[in-house]
Symmetry: C2
Subunit: 236 residues, 2 copies
Amino acid sequence: MTHFHDPTTCQSCAQRFASVFCKAKQEFISEINDQKICNIYKKGQTLFNEGSYPFGVYCINEGKVKLSHLGDDGKEQIIRLLRGGDVMGYRALLSGERYSASAIALEDTQVCFIPKELFISVLKNDTGLAFEMMKLLSDELHKAEVKLTHLAQKPIRERLAETLLFIKETYGYEADGITLSVRLSREEIANLVGTATESTIRLLSEFKKDGMVELDGKKIKILRQKELIKTANLQD
Amino acid sequence: MTHFHDPTTCQSCAQRFASVFCKAKQEFISEINDQKICNIYKKGQTLFNEGSYPFGVYCINEGKVKLSHLGDDGKEQIIRLLRGGDVMGYRALLSGERYSASAIALEDTQVCFIPKELFISVLKNDTGLAFEMMKLLSDELHKAEVKLTHLAQKPIRERLAETLLFIKETYGYEADGITLSVRLSREEIANLVGTATESTIRLLSEFKKDGMVELDGKKIKILRQKELIKTANLQD
DNA sequence: TAACATGCATGATTTTTGTCATGTTTTTAA
DNA sequence: TTAAAAACATGACAAAAATCATGCATGTTA
């Protein structure tokens, strides 16, 4: 079980992480600091569930979380990967709906919960934060549209390569500089790529044969990033 | 060439359409009314282009517009269909980026252009409108995430049925109550579904054979909506 | 430690989907 | 009005991807 530091104050947290809340005015940050509730979720635990009503937003202090969505036939689709500093639960809150996705801890994770009323009232009184939220939503929308296009137009081989690069961008490497610092099952990777688990397993083996990655159970090492980028066939 | 009424004032426009701007305070609506620039785009004309910088937002007064995104290999992916009352161009503006999609008129269309500075200043001074924008962005994000999941998990047959229903939801029927009131080429439908044009043509023929639709060039009539819904295999 | 469950891996096969080729129809423009 | 271009349609084929089956490894629990 991971050991966490004593819950940081939002003031120091805002310095450490690039959360949207950094941009809130000082007075509101201390108000948030007073009312926030810190919590620790163990690996595999659910923070909130698709279909239930939101009572606030969550800000990750430390840890990793997946946001996933169930397809009509019950298959998981992972729509976002979150890390320290990331906020979640705001989409449902802002559109006044139930959660459209579930949040599940990928490892032991410490989060702050900010009650709905406080979040809304701060947003109402802090235009700067409201603009940050709009920017955040716009960026997420952009990412979703790009992913949509890739899902529609790119073969699985390219999407898997892209997903590996995305995981690396999100969570980075371990100390050795080549091992992805998150452990995902093959099934989870498949649910991120949008394909069958077997296809993912097969293609990962191919990538290994091609010398692009090294596999050791859930440990994945990126050996040749440039080749991976070429395989992903990215424009940007 | 379609005939349009004289450009309506925003006051009357806001009543007629369910635009986000309805929710702005009266004083700002008249300010928008003073500064807006109305324009007519003919079918096929481009309102703005992916990659260029936004100078304001567009509000559709009357007409139909597609928002499309080019894939890395240059293939079009239609990411949204817009109608009267819909606003576009806000995503790029709010995230401070270039347009990530192009807007092209599907028929003769009248739009109001609202300059960037005005839009931002109204947004800064009208919290209600800011919340409406956040809600709009959240709703779009939700739709994108659902579409993403379907794209990843559903076969083309289901996605085509879903797309036909989506077109009907967006643009409705003509006076006869069964003909979709928009003319899209088979290629455009394919770029909405995320598949090859030939697959779309073939499946449309099958739907016709099954008695679900009737085809007359670009005119598509929905004969059995219930069957279509079943074919789309939708949960909601 | 044995028994079981779960995840990983791989082969064989089928299904789905895309691509290429060709002909027809419709639309557009000279 | 006619020629050219674009869109539609369909068959044949190839490629991509899913599914089913099986075995091995790993990890978990009684």
